[in-house]
Amino acid sequence: MSAPLLIEIGCEEIPAGGIAGAAESLGRRIVAILDQAGLAHGDASAWGGSRRLAVRVEGVEERQADREETVLGPPARAAFAGDGSPTAAAVGFARKHGIPPACLVAVRTDKGEYSAFRRTVRGRSVGEVLGAGLEQAVGGMSFPKTMRWGEGAHRWVRPVHWIVALHGGEVLPLVLFGIEADRHSRGHRFLAPGAVRIADAGVYAAELERAFVLADPAARRGTLARQLAEAAAAESGEIVEDERLLEEVADLVEWPGVVTGRFAAEYLDLPREVLVATLRHHQKAFSVQRDGRLLPVFLAVANTDRDPAGHVRRGNEWVVGGRLEDARFFWGEDGKTELASRVARLDGIVYHEKLGTYREKAERVAGLAGALARQLGLPEEEKGAAERASLLCKADLLTGLVAEFPELQGVVGGLLLRREGVDERVAAAVYEHYRPRGPDDDPPATELGAVLSVADKLDAVASLLAVGERPTGSRDPFGLRRATAGIFRIACERSWGVSIGALWELSALATGGEQRSEIFAYLEQRLGDFLRERGFTLHEIDAVLQAGGGTAAAALPLGDVLARLEAVRAVRERADFRKLVELTKRASNILRQTAALIERSADAGWAPGAAIAAAGAARRLEETIGREEPAIRTAADRRAYAEVLDHLADFAEPVAAFFDEVLVVDPEDPQGTYQRHELLARLGSLLTRYFDIRELPGDADRRP
């Protein structure tokens, strides 16, 4: 009989930020146990709140099927006497297994004939299966940090208090973390402090909701988003969207509520970024705006939807007021010293023990930014501005505001420079030089900001790789992967004419001569990863990066890479193009065969041509090459890659005819073979010059 399976692990407050992921991981682990035991089941759903992770798997079979098993005893020669009666060895074996010796039969195996008996093994129940595997599966879950508690016997993300384990309406006899499973969950810590009886695995979420727990993370997020929107609307405003904050606060509460608090309007004089960061960083509160201007209002999230005495609002307002006062103090203090005068003190802040201080880093970045600006053909005056911005860009590390809000690095420097009235291009470049901070963040909007951002990131990547700080597995303490992706994204989206080869050469300014080949390999590998993350397939990426005999990866301007990939993606499914892919692969196979032949005949002094002129299809192919080659070159020069590919697709028909009608390798006619080889070589080089289309799957790969 099958029924839903429910496992809930109840514990003390789990750190925010990973609850949904942890619940899903628990689900996968439980499903893996069921699969391994061969227990049929349906879909799994996962729930999680600050005090629980839970999984329900639908339609889990109650018990494994019984199975027949043959147990081998001693070899038949030793087990049975001449008259077939059991020997002492056989009797001993039978006694050990508690069966009458008469049950022993002879069976044939690969290793000869053995005595044996057959028995029926009863399938294990779902309780037995989980009893054997669940503890290890749960204990092995990975969390950023785990702990021990009490006598220190167990280790998990937080101390565990209760376990619910139900198959349909039956409690499974499981023990986890020394706790016996039952059917009693707990509700909201304050609003419903007692036990919550779960009659049946099917009613879990509904029962918890009655006990003021929204166990579905997505539902909590949705409820919060709605409450925030309503609260903002009540102020005739809208919230300043912040998906990551929403994600985090949804993990902090099991029964979400939103409190509207106010602060003195005078704090609106603070820069918007500082105000939003203060509310977000210290109070995990949302800012509210109307027509793009902040209101003196914040929305705090609470683990309750009631505030009968107004304490929750007043408490939050009090703390927010203090924090804003602090922020205003720092903003005022930081402005008393020119940012430029702080640069010298960067000598006192170590960037990396092997790479010196931030002052040295800023100087390296200035060198890189200047060289990059020149490479991009920026006017000398802009190059100077990029260098000035580089030298200033780390000075805000010495401000009180950045000490308080590290996430505002760069932003604070830019704001201070703007207030000082320095060159707006410099202020903007400093402001945005950490961008993009991740895949969801925008890259810098200004050209100088982009130059500074790439210079800063390239310095980090190259210099840290040079001293052996290569990211491994999930460890990337300096964020080098993110930095590399940021470099590629900026260069691609701005259609810069720099290649990774050029970036690599620039990076020598940062590293001296250390680990040069490793740095290049890293850039090349990350470029592939970056393109895959943008949704291109390995085939498409290789078709672009492996063009020209594998030289394209290093030499292609990054701006071109995306344009080429998009062109490939557009044509690759077209029938004529798939046909051409197939034919190109065939041509390159034949070329490999004929190459050896040619080597032998190299001195024969054969002229190309005669054999081609004789045969119709070969002739036509030669004419097509003659006609298309200049057209392809012109289109490529204009970066009209779709056109290049269209021209290439025009080869499908003449190449197909060539293979149909012409025998390329003819042992009787070495000169003709040589000439046909030459023709194919010309074709091959043209077809793989801009795109190595052999990397794409052709028609043949489609066949079963």
Binding site: G150, R314, G315, W318
Partner: protein, 307 residues
């Protein structure tokens, strides 16, 4: 509720839960964790329950008595329960109820905040407890102290008494807290705040503090390496508590030098490491001492340590 009523009620609450009611340590420290009845007692297998108020000095936090929330010295209430009972969160919430907080009228949350003391070689996992968005407690399951992995696990509860009292009285400045029915916190302490801030930030004699740091460090090392001659052989005989007190003095001297802006980044990190080495050696010596004594609190321990 006055400050002293709050202190009395929280002491009574934890005394009622089987805690030894200790008194503040009579040295300058930055937190109750540094009290030997925390730092030493969480080591080893012996059970322990203690509660006390610890005046805690944080020279960097001095604000000349002008900031309504930050002070050079505040009163931290500290509770250690070893081993941490499974219902410790409920015990903690009961303590809030004991001084009049009804959780149904507030928003009380446990937000991840893992604690680490580099100078003590100690680390723990836990939360900051927020009431209506304000941090009122740190709640930590100690995992390590003095460089040792701990077993059993102790829980440390600390309360910011001033904040809680401000909250209960709905006042917005620490200096307006009624200490008793007749005087305010400001009347008792403000002058001291002004003077200590001036001293830590501007006046402290850097050369004196540096010299003292070196000498107390040497003294701690000497006491830890002390031997006695018994039956013809040299035997280790460290004076553990005096050595630890010398390390605590180093810690306070370091804090003042830090506030004074006298330490470079590398020097700062090196000083922390020097204090940590002393603390770890003290922990090791303490454990050996208790082991030699047969861990006396282990026998019949349940009566003394569990409520």
């Amino acid at each position: 509720m006055t400050f002293q009523q709050l202190l009395l009620s929280i002491q009574a609450h934890w005394a009622g839960k089987g805690c030894v009611l200790q008194q503040p340590y009579d040295l300058e420290v930055g937190a109750g964790t540094m009290h030997p009845d925390t730092f030493f007692r969480v080591l080893g297998p012996e059970p322990w329950r203690v509660a006390f108020c610890q005046p805690s000095r944080r020279p960097c936090d001095g604000r000349y008595g002008e900031n309504p929330m930050r002070v050079y010295k505040h009163y931290q209430f500290q509770v250690i329960l070893k081993p941490a009972p499974l219902d410790v969160q409920d015990l903690y919430l009961d303590s809030l109820r004991a001084f009049g907080v009804d959780p149904l009228e507030h928003d009380i949350r446990f937000e991840e905040d893992n604690w680490e003391s580099p100078t003590l070689g100690a680390a723990g996992v836990g939360w900051q407890v927020l009431m209506d968005g304000m941090e009122i407690s740190q709640f930590t399951y100690f995992q390590q102290a003095g460089g040792f992995e701990l077993s059993p696990i102790s829980v440390e509860l600390t309360y910011g008494l001033e904040r809680i009292c401000m909250f209960l009285n709905d006042i917005r400045s620490i200096f307006e807290i009624p200490w008793s029915d007749s005087v305010t916190y400001g009347e008792v302490r403000r002058r001291e705040e002004v003077e200590h801030s001036a001293y830590s930030f501007r006046e402290a004699d850097v050369a004196l503090f540096r010299g003292q740091f070196e000498r107390w460090e040497a003294e701690a090392k000497r006491l830890l390496s002390r031997t006695v001659r018994a039956e013809g052989e040299e035997r280790a005989a460290p004076l553990v508590v005096p050595a630890y007190e010398a390390a605590l003095k180093c810690s306070h001297l370091f804090n003042v030098l830090d506030a004074r802006g006298a330490l470079s980044v590398t020097e700062r990190a090196a000083s922390i490491q020097r204090i940590r080495r002393l603390a770890c050696r003290c922990a090791e010596a303490y454990l050996r001492q208790r082991e030699e004594a047969g861990f006396p609190l282990l026998s019949g321990s349940d009566a003394g340590s569990r409520s």
